[in-house]
């Protein structure tokens, strides 16, 4: 285990994301040049805007949401499953949390806690369906979760339009009843004020950024420090070996999927309790899919996913300045895609290089022995 922290090993660990980022930027540069824009100017504009205080706060806020979604995906990756349904687990979790949370008022902290539990439970229940289908009928969770995304989206549309909605005079939006103030989580601007950072127009980091951090620790703890996490990884690495050693594969599938759904349900809570205070037609879609990309980029590691989430957040925020310079914002999507693809390739190259090194070391050890 001591090799894990050798300089060479650290260099190798950093090499892959570094190479990926350089490649990603290279590919985006080509895209920019094809559209007759200067990559240099574009990146500088993005860097200048992206490193302003307000943008960094926004990066953290976007990152927190992506982080939770990516953890949810990573949990199933660890178990050798693929939960593509995070998208609809997020949506239904948020919708029910908004609906139920607006029904009553409770003391502030308790109210928030109840809403989080609701979001989490609904997410877990929606993830239970594909798990059950897989265990009972052998339906691939990849297919069933994709389909449940469509069903979940239609279900949320129906529930919002026909049961949960409250119309606001003059508005064409459709929204659930706004959450009472006891369910609002204040932002952390006052904390930043204390360390000398002045107020910025967009507001501070969401209070529930801490929820994301806590879930990161929880994820790491469950996966690496518990019996359950060990079984989870074992079934992921080799289902046959795991079941021979006494792990019930069906139980693992159900638990892994439900836990993933429970994480997923919480993903939009920082936004909902910190900013929108309701579920509306403008509820953001696609977070679950971004989460898949981030989990891949972060290699299912809590710290890796954190960096990846912030990187995605940074690219997204910093690209918002580009339209004022006449460049399409969507360039950031090319960057994210290029970085992800390069990362997957780079990880593989580094993995093979590592194997070669190991083989050589073994051979040397054999010779000297």
């Amino acid at each position: 285990m001591s090799r894990r922290f050798s300089p060479q090993s650290i260099a190798l660990t950093l090499a892959a994301p570094l190479v990926a980022a350089v490649f990603g930027l290279g590919i985006s540069s080509i895209a920019l040049m094809i559209t007759h824009n200067s990559p240099l100017e574009t990146f500088r504009a993005m860097w200048d805007y992206g490193t302003q205080v307000g943008s960094l706060i926004e990066m953290v806020n976007l990152g927190a949401v992506y982080y939770i979604a990516a953890l949810a995906v990573a949990l199933t990756f660890k178990a050798g499953l693929f939960n593509i349904g995070v998208e609809s687990q997020i949506r239904l979790g948020a919708l029910f949390a908004a609906w139920i949370g607006a029904m009553f008022t409770l003391p502030p902290v308790l109210h928030v806690f109840v809403i989080l539990v609701v979001a989490s439970l609904v997410g877990a229940m929606w993830a239970f369906l594909p798990a059950l289908l897989k265990v009972k009928r052998g339906v691939s969770e990849v297919i069933s979760t994709i389909m449940l995304n469509s069903i979940g989206s239609a279900l949320s549309a129906y529930l919002l339009a026909d049961h949960f909605q409250q119309l606001v005079a003059g508005s064409n939006n459709v929204t659930t009843k706004p959450l009472p103030q006891s369910a609002w989580v204040p932002d952390l601007m006052s904390w930043l004020n204390r360390v000398g950072i002045k107020d910025v127009p967009g507001g501070g980091p969401y209070g529930l950024v801490f929820l994301a951090v806590a879930l990161g620790f929880l994820y790491s703890f469950i996966v690496n420090r518990t019996r359950f996490g060990f079984d989870l990884r074992a079934s992921g690495a080799s289902p046959t070996a795991a079941s021979v050693s006494g792990v019930n594969p069906k139980r693992m599938i159900i638990l892994a999927m439900m836990l993933s759904g429970a994480f997923a349900g919480l993903a939009m809570m920082p936004v909902m309790l910190g900013e929108s205070h309701a579920y509306t037609l403008g509820f953001r879609g696609g977070v679950g899919f971004t989460g898949i990309a981030i989990a891949l980029l972060g290699r299912n590691n809590a710290v890796g996913i954190a960096f990846s989430s912030l990187l995605f957040g940074f690219l997204e925020v910093s690209a918002r300045i580009l339209e004022l310079n006449g460049i399409a914002t969507e360039i950031y999507i090319i960057m994210q895609g290029a970085i992800l693809l390069s990362a997957v390739a780079a990880y593989e190259v580094v993995r093979r290089y590592r194997e070669t090194l190991n083989a050589r070391a073994l051979a040397r050890a054999g010779v000297t022995a």
Binding site: S38, S153, G170, P201, G326
Partner: protein, 358 residues
């Protein structure tokens, strides 16, 4: 943050050396001309319908009023804060007035307009913001759609009529309600097949011509011979279906929406385009800019709540209506019925519903 920053710095350093290219960015405009910012929602320009109509108004202002313009748009799947950030960036860069196209901008406009009280804002399709520097520009889509219903009922031989909405949201149900009321008032026995391309939160229904075409084909197969598509860019599918169905011996009329879609249709599609329900977003955008240039504001009391001002565009002020390009309304001798209905709506004899009958 440390890693991503390091990665980025390193990568930027590498690429900047390798790919330094001449700057292609426009210098900031230092003159004191009026700078107009226009923010599109998802989809943006190129739908030949709603958004392009807003853009047409902007271009007209650019030409006639010599204003400088800048457009931004929300990316698909972007956060709500993206809309807010983009409005704020426009305001910070000195754009004034700033026009937000689409009701999803409401929260963002409210927030940013509070931050920049000296900047004039306008929002299309929303009348919920009670701020002195926000003009709400709304439309009586149901009135124009009612006339489209009258025209459809008159033009139809089979008595079977189709309505394709973009996304099932209250705004689009206003079109549906008016259209169905117009059809029924003109021809009691006629039926209207109502379909939406997508359900919220899926907003792709405004930009999915392939799916709209399948829906339109289903309608024509079932005998419909007039189809009204209130679906932004998806309307293209309706027009294509009409061309194909008519070639196969089932003549179908189409009715376009928002812009006068006859003007952007292909030659084949023009032959089947009865009319378009024009929603003059272009006029609203131009009015707004023109008032600003003259030092005035668009601030009629809209009667939906204290402090909510702007303008309601309806039949009376020619904010909505039917397009006459192609001349089919005259040729089919239905222009008279349409005009009669329009007169009755203007005088209030006909009250057009804004929500579909249950």
């Amino acid at each position: 943050m440390r890693l991503s920053k390091r990665v980025l710095t390193a990568a930027i350093a590498v690429t900047t050396v390798a790919l330094a290219a001449p700057a292609a960015m426009a210098p900031a405009n230092a003159k004191t001309t009026v700078k107009v910012g226009l923010a599109f929602d998802i989809g943006g320009r190129g739908d030949k319908s709603f958004n392009d109509s807003a853009y047409a108004g902007l271009v007209k202002a650019q030409k006639l009023l010599k204003v400088v313009t800048k457009t931004v748009s929300a990316t698909a799947g972007g956060a709500a804060t993206e809309r807010e950030d983009k409005l704020r960036l426009l305001a910070q860069a000195g754009y004034n007035p700033i026009i937000a196209v689409g009701f999803l901008y409401a929260d963002s406009v409210k927030k940013v307009a509070t931050e920049f009280p000296k900047t004039r804002f306008a929002i299309i399709d929303d009348a919920s913001i009670a701020l002195p520097n926000v003009s709400s520009l709304v439309f009586a889509e149901e009135q124009g759609s009612y006339l489209a219903g009258v025209a459809a009922a008159k033009a139809s031989k089979s008595g079977k009529i189709g309505y394709i909405g973009g996304v099932r949201i209250p705004l689009l149900q206003k079109f549906e309600a008016g259209f169905v009321a117009g059809v029924k008032a003109t021809r009691k026995s006629a039926t209207v097949d109502v379909k939406y391309v997508s359900e919220p939160p899926d907003f792709t229904g405004f930009a999915d011509p392939a799916k709209a075409k399948v829906i339109a084909k289903g309608m024509t197969d079932a005998g419909a011979d007039v189809i009204y598509s209130a679906a932004g860019g998806s309307g293209k599918g309706n027009f294509e279906n009409a061309t194909e169905a008519s070639a196969a011996g089932k003549p179908v009329w189409t009715i376009g929406v928002d812009s006068d879609q006859y003007l952007t249709a292909s030659a084949a599609e023009k032959k089947h385009m009865l009319t378009s329900m024009v929603k003059h977003v272009d006029v609203a955008v131009f009015d707004m800019i023109s008032a600003f240039v003259k030092g005035k504001k668009v601030a009629d009391n809209l009667g939906v709540g204290a402090g909510i001002t702007g303008r309601r565009y309806n039949l009376k002020n020619n904010g909505v209506g039917l397009a006459t390009s192609g001349g089919y309304l005259k040729k089919l001798k239905i222009a008279a019925a349409v005009n009669a209905a329009a007169a009755k709506i203007k005088t209030g004899v006909i009250k057009v519903p804004t929500v579909p009958a249950a």
